[in-house]
């Protein structure tokens, strides 16, 4: 669950979608989006509590699991980025190129 954040820090609510585990963020419309830029950013403890309260029904309804509040920063273009490296990796995926499955030529017949 949420760690203590600075009282006025911008923050968003994140979770994993229950059925497939995909990382999602709570939007202003009350939906869940895999894109962090869709997240509803709040910047006070009260607003965070309100947002979390609104999410609890989706936990009970088995839409999401592992609700958490994370601190973010917003750049001049409005793009949202997590403060912690952990959440940055969670938002965009592993920092490494994933192995690409490529087919090989069939094995030659034994000599």
């Amino acid at each position: 669950m949420a760690r203590k954040l600075r009282p006025d820090a911008p923050r968003v609510v994140t979770a994993n979608r229950l059925r497939d585990g995909v990382v999602v963020y709570r939007t202003a419309a009350g939906a869940w989006s895999p894109a962090l830029d869709d997240a509803h950013v709040v910047a006070s403890t009260e607003a965070e509590e309100g947002l979390l309260r609104a999410c609890t029904a989706d936990v009970a309804d088995c839409l999401v699991v592992g609700l958490d509040v994370i601190e973010v920063q917003i750049d001049a273009h409005g793009a949202i980025a997590p403060i912690s490296q952990r959440e940055a990796i969670r938002a965009v995926g592993p920092s490494i190129a994933l192995p690409q499955d490529r087919a090989f030529a069939p094995l030659a017949a034994p000599a």
Partner: protein, 553 residues
């Protein structure tokens, strides 16, 4: 290959049905996450940074070609086309959907595989020497014992809720390739000097993680028939007195340390008196019956020679010669070799294999290795029964699938956990540093000149990559939001198991690469003839390497 009997199969099939029902109830809301989480963990399903992660047991690291093909199928059908072989001889899939997990377990059950006891506070998958049954120095194949332990510990009601997870490793050879001294229980086979009978040295209370400890010998020689009663006695003492109040003090190593090995032994002996010669006695016929279930197709007769006497034509094919020197080990049967398959090509993610690579290994196992594959604690694979005259053809086929890096046991054969790229417990990334180091040491001729050198990188103190016992160990730490790496030197997990010593403060990744390159240069400058890196560190201590540290600063 061990073949399930009807009881084994029924148990695994039932588990699939139960889990299918549990997942359905979770998705429909009949189970809360708090109720469901222990159930999914009992089936190896974790929730990691990006998705669910499924850990599949590879008992004692042995797979058939058909099983490997199913692992490939799971990677392709349910994941993103690859899997990750771990230091506990398991495989993990990183991108699993909860709703598909029951189908995956069902596919695995068809080839006698499962994910039972790959998580939770139970006895985990028993690990073994990856050269079991084929190593020339072996007394007996330890997988027979490992299978007996698997049957004893699977769903054992008394040991399903231990104070903490419990790991057992076993080797049948005097040269320890299973790291038995850093497990909760380590078993090492010996012969009784008087009778010549094979039995076990029992080592207890080893482990890495937050409090690394080298295990202590609790019994020098245990006859085989007493194996289960004695281990049950150990488990009972642990179960009764292990610290359930503090997760950081709950492993058996803390109990053994608190009581002292002699007092712990006394308690085990007292418990054992009530169990000894009872129903847990394992008669010789049981060993024989289980050994029979491992039966392989016969080796070709009349072959001669060993890889150590093989004449390598360096001039005609230097790459093949280099691969044979680094990756092929002597086999107990004349005319055969043990082929170690590196999953550590320069820049590759340690332990990862694509579905096509897994299928290629399966096909090559069927063609060249009596249908058998092994997974090693160093995150590589083994084709354990290869005719020496098949080596050139096998090498070419492996090479075509990027599986012929000639670096097993060398500096670029880096052992690394998933770290912060996948793991929700991580402090720092492991994989990018492993990639940078393996690229730095990509020159295979130089790597062979450097010789045996194990680098182990863990992304947090849980030490899944065994960094404490790496010749060079690296621990990722998070210092005020900065990803740094603490380096240790001189660790080892063999017969002379030792914990590495910290050298210098934690450093950023690029500096870690430079320091390690400097340590290797220091070693090359000061080594005595025939000395491996670890021998030099043992002789000189860390002082000359610390000079490197200052010189390079």
């Amino acid at each position: 290959m061990y073949q399930y009997d009807a009881h084994d199969q029924a148990l695994v099939d039932q588990r699939v049905d139960q889990f299918r029902d549990q997942v359905a109830r979770r998705l429909s809301g009949d189970l809360t996450e708090d109720q469901f989480k222990p159930l999914r963990l009992m089936n190896g399903l974790y929730l990691q940074l990006h998705a669910y992660m499924l850990r599949v047991a590879v008992p004692y690291g042995t797979l058939s070609g058909d099983q490997m093909r199913v692992l490939a199928h799971i990677a392709r059908r349910y994941d993103r086309g690859y899997g990750h072989f771990t230091t506990r001889q398991n495989i993990q899939y990183n991108w699993i959907k909860l709703e598909e997990a029951p189908d995956i377990l069902a596919d695995m059950a068809r080839v006698q595989m499962h994910a039972i006891q790959t998580s939770g506070n139970c006895i985990r998958n028993v690990t073994a020497d990856p050269w079991a049954g084929v190593a020339p120095d072996e007394i007996e194949d330890p997988r027979v014992t490992a299978e007996i332990l698997r049957q004893w510990s699977t769903l054992h009601p008394e040991f399903s809720f231990l104070p903490r997870k419990f790991k057992i490793a076993i080797t049948g050879a005097p040269n320890d390739r299973a790291a038995v001294k850093v497990h909760d229980i380590g078993l090492r086979m010996h012969r009784d000097p008087d009778s010549g009978e094979a039995g076990y040295e029992v080592i207890v209370g080893g482990g890495l993680g937050r409090t690394p400890v080298i295990g202590k010998t609790i019994r020098r020689f245990l006859p085989k028939d007493h194996l289960l009663s004695y281990l049950e006695a150990i488990m009972r003492v642990y179960n009764a007195h292990g610290r359930r109040d503090n997760i950081y003090k709950a492993r058996i190593k803390i109990l053994v340390d608190a009581l002292g090995i002699d007092a712990f032994r006394d308690q085990v002996e007292a418990e054992w008196q009530a169990l000894k010669d009872g129903p847990l006695t394992v008669p010789a016929e049981t060993y024989a019956a289980i050994r029979a279930r491992f039966a392989l197709p016969p080796y070709d007769e009349g072959l001669t020679g060993s890889v150590s006497t093989l004449r390598l034509d360096e001039a005609a094919d230097p790459a093949l010669a280099r691969w044979i020197r680094a990756n092929v080990a002597p086999h107990r049967v004349p005319g055969y070799g043990i082929v170690n398959v590196s999953l550590k090509a320069p820049g590759q993610i340690p332990g990862d294999a694509t579905a096509s690579q897994m299928e290629r290994i399966a096909d090559l196992a069927d063609r060249y290795s009596l249908g058998e594959v092994r997974v090693t604690k160093d995150q590589n694979l083994v084709l354990p029964h290869v005719r020496l005259d098949d080596l050139p053809a096998l090498w070419r086929a492996l090479d075509a699938a990027d599986l012929a890096s000639p670096n097993v046991g060398l500096v670029s054969d880096i052992i690394a956990c998933p770290g912060l790229d996948y793991c929700s417990l991580a402090n720092a990334r492991s994989i990018p540093l492993a990639q940078a180091l393996s690229e730095r040491f990509a020159d295979m001729a130089r790597a062979q000149d450097i010789g045996e050198l194990h680098i182990n990188i863990s992304g947090c103190i849980n030490a899944c990559a065994h960094h404490h016992v790496g010749h060079i160990g690296i621990l990722g730490v998070d210092q005020k939001g900065k990803e740094l790496y603490q380096i240790t030197l001189g660790g080892r997990s063999d017969d002379n198991a030792t914990l590495g010593k910290v050298v210098g403060p934690a450093v950023p990744a690029d500096r870690a690469v430079e320091l390690i390159a400097g340590f290797v240069d220091t070693y090359l400058a000061i080594r005595h003839p025939g000395e491996r890196f670890i021998d030099t560190v043992a002789r000189t201590g860390t002082a000359p390497f610390k000079e490197t540290l200052h010189a390079a600063a």
